[in-house]
């Protein structure tokens, strides 16, 4: 009997007649679909050059992406100050490294330090002031802005979500009802409407004279909606926890807050982590909606770059590039979430 990979594949693809027919049909379809795509994106594509005139091969004009790379990454951020955005990217990289490589106590310390200082340092780096030249938020854009909005909305959403998840599980009726209303309200309305709502209502409900930055409105709007979804994820974790955990803690004489923060919540959050990551993925995807209030995130800047008269007809190049970045971010996150799920 022969062993090895080849016979296995033979059996998988051509095991019997129907299998073989389906294989051949699918292969033909795949070739028909992939060949034009590869011809456009790779074989007939232009990689080198500086202007549209360099693109004569008939395929994709990646020169456009090269020429626009700075905008795709930083939006209209002043070129002389882009090192600050690079530092911001570096901070995100450090956070990921801390999550990936540190274990145990070191990881807890590193992540607590990051959660404590990252938000302020990030805003200071990008916004300026205190020694750095101020850059207004309307000049922020591109991938930098996508990541900024995702992270800062999550910083609003996670604590708020945990709070409302605890509220929904509370024995006190008033707190429970308020939590249910909050969660069901934000889960029931479209995010695009919430972004409109935040950009229209937030300036209206603040005392006159206090303006709310346009970007901050979008971040708050996104944060509120995602908080409701995070709350449901955390509730799932709390409900999955055996009742005995809370009861044992109470029997040992711990009060509500100690029971919650030392016993039940840490375990519940570990169970809820994959679900929370999935909500974070949908947050990253939903940051694109700020397009409707003219904030230029990665997708927005890709769309806006098409209006350049020097680069007419670059739709596909811009979309493929932006889409690929979104795909990589979300795919990496979903893989990580799945690994977490298996680990617990």
């Amino acid at each position: 009997m022969r062993t090895g990979t080849l016979p296995v594949w033979q059996k998988r693809l051509f095991g019997d007649l129907p299998t073989a027919i389906v294989t051949i049909l699918l292969a033909v379809l795949m070739v028909a679909a992939l060949v034009p795509i590869l011809r456009w994106g790779l074989f007939n594509a232009t990689w080198n050059g500086t202007t549209r005139a360099d693109c004569v091969a008939g395929g994709a004009c990646w020169v456009f992406i090269k020429a626009r790379f700075g905008q795709f990454m930083y939006g209209l951020y002043p070129p002389g100050e882009r090192w600050r955005a690079d530092l911001f990217f570096g901070l995100i990289g450090l956070t990921i490294a801390a999550i990936a490589f540190l274990r145990g106590r070191k990881r807890v310390i590193a992540l607590s330090a990051i959660t404590l200082f990252f938000p302020l340092i990030g805003v200071w780096l990008l916004g300026g002031g205190y020694g750095l030249e101020p850059v207004e938020t309307r000049n922020w854009g591109g991938l930098m802005l996508t990541l900024f909005m995702s992270i800062y909305s999550a910083l609003i959403a996670v604590p708020l979500g945990i709070l409302f998840a605890l509220g929904r599980q509370s024995e006190l009726p008033v707190i429970r009802i308020i939590s249910v209303i909050f969660i069901e309200f934000w889960r029931g309305v479209p995010i695009i409407a919430v972004i409109f709502l935040a950009s229209l209502l937030l300036p209206l409900i603040m005392p006159s004279g206090i303006g709310v930055d346009r970007l901050a409105r979008a971040v708050i709007g996104l944060g509120l909606v995602i908080a409701a979804y995070i709350a449901e994820a955390v509730r799932g974790g709390l409900q999955a926890l055996p009742k005995g955990q809370g009861e044992a803690a109470a029997a040992l004489g711990l009060g509500y807050w100690k029971t919650t923060f030392l016993i039940t919540l840490p375990q519940a959050l570990r169970i809820a982590l994959p679900a929370m990551t999935n909500e974070f993925i949908s947050l990253v995807k939903n940051t694109t909606l700020v397009l409707v209030v003219s904030i230029l995130d990665l997708l927005g800047i890709a769309q806006a770059s098409l209006a350049d008269p020097n680069w007419v007809g670059m739709n596909m190049e811009a979309y493929v590039f932006a889409g690929a970045i979104y795909w990589f971010i979300c795919f990496a996150l979903s893989r990580w979430s799945r690994a977490q799920e298996r680990a617990t």
């Binding site: 009726p173 069901e184 479209p190 409407a193 709502l197 209502l201 409707v292 979309y319 889409g323 979104y326």
Partner: protein, 385 residues
């Protein structure tokens, strides 16, 4: 005395609740006062009288017979109908495509299931807005001019002005067809109830599944075919420069529908796959061992259990499609958010009233669905000790 009070669980509960409630009320009063001050300062009117003013807003795609001289309320209604129209079509098409992909993913054919898996991984990790923009500016905008439309069977014509479809000249036969379909559904419901009751009483079975094939499958198809022969059709004809006749579905509609269907199908495929995998093999084997036929096993054992897993996430997916139809606002498909929160709000400036109305529509449908879901869950829930 005081500490004993403060350590009492019930009293502490009251204190907490009172504190939260007072905090909330203070916050709300603060916001409302600011809002009313700011509105007076900006000269914005309040109240719902603006709804009866003439709107003056043109809607490029409409099913309600709206015209710009109608009231703003009519505009609101046109937006609601457009939202429901695109959502309903997207739900039907995405379910069909999602089931196909979900089944393909479970197929024992390696290449087929891999392609389906790749599709799901591709679609789920890309923003929906990307799909909307891609279909609108990438695909539809690059289609040929109307005079070189892509035609399908010479009935449907696709070009950069949208999709031209045949239009029934008379709607009445379809109304009758739908009434007949509803009547058949009721008939089926009655017969199944009778059959179930008789089986419980006497043990004799009745082929209500076969009857369902007729009443829910063949009869509706036949009724719709008959109706479409009865009515005349205004079929689009390719002219020299343009298409004549038919109804034009605007590019925004086609792009939004295509985006919703291709995106949601990826999620529905996962739900279907999860549901079918959730029924353990033992269930099927036990049913066969008890002497049930293959068909009975499938219809009485596997599908009911898979449905219990599939239906709850599926309804929330349908609600997502309804909410996601608001992505049309990004390409100016005249759905509710776009016409009302966009155009009407710009014209009147009455942000609070308009936002409240729009959110109320979505929350209303959400409430209906979650109510139906609760009824369904209480009926379908496993009866355990």
């Amino acid at each position: 005395m005081m500490t004993r009070w403060l350590n009492d669980k019930t009293i502490r509960g009251y204190i907490w609740q009172a504190a939260v409630l007072i905090g909330l009320v203070v916050m709300l009063v603060f916001f409302v006062r600011n809002a009313s001050e700011n509105m007076v300062k900006a000269g914005i009117a309040s109240g719902f009288n603006f709804l009866w003013r003439s709107s003056g807003i043109d809607v490029p795609f409409d099913l309600t017979g709206y015209s710009p001289s109608d009231t703003i309320f009519a505009l609101f209604w046109a937006g609601v109908v457009n939202t429901l129209f695109v959502s309903a079509l997207a739900i039907v098409l995405a379910t069909a495509l999602g089931f196909l992909i979900g089944l393909a993913r479970l197929s024992s054919h390696w290449l087929l299931s891999s392609i389906a898996g790749a599709y799901v991984e591709f679609v789920r990790n890309i923003p929906l807005l990307f799909f909307v923009i891609f279909w609108y500016f990438g695909v539809i905008a690059s289609l040929p001019q109307p005079k070189d439309s892509v035609s399908l069977l010479n009935l449907f014509f696709l070009n950069n002005r949208g999709l031209t479809v045949p239009r029934p000249i008379d709607g009445a036969p379809f109304l009758w067809a739908w009434l007949a379909i509803i009547a058949f559904a009721f008939l089926q419901w009655g017969v199944s109830r009778f059959a179930a009751a008789r089986r419980a009483r006497t043990g004799t079975s009745f082929p209500s599944g076969l009857l369902a094939l007729v009443t829910l499958g063949l009869a509706p198809v036949f009724a719709l075919i008959a109706a479409s022969f009865w009515t005349g059709w205004d079929v689009p004809v390719a002219g020299k420069f343009n298409l004549r006749g038919g109804t034009v579905l605007i590019p925004e509609f086609v792009a939004l529908l295509a985006a919703l269907v291709t995106y949601s199908a990826g999620f529905i495929a996962e739900i279907v796959r999860g549901g079918l995998l959730a029924v353990s093999r033992g269930q099927r084997e036990a049913a066969l061992a008890l002497g049930l036929t293959q068909g009975q096993t499938l219809w009485l054992v596997v599908i009911p259990q898979a449905m219990r897993v599939i239906i709850p996430p599926m309804t929330s997916q349908y609600l997502n499609i309804l909410k996601n139809s608001s992505f049309g606002a990004a390409i100016a498909y005249p759905e509710l958010v776009s016409v009302f929160m966009g155009s009407a709000l710009n014209n009147t400036g009455q942000a609070i009233e308009i936002i409240a109305m729009v959110l109320a529509v979505y929350l209303f449908f959400g409430l209906i669905v979650s109510f139906a879901m609760n009824v369904f869950n209480s009926r379908m829930a496993l009866v355990t000790r």
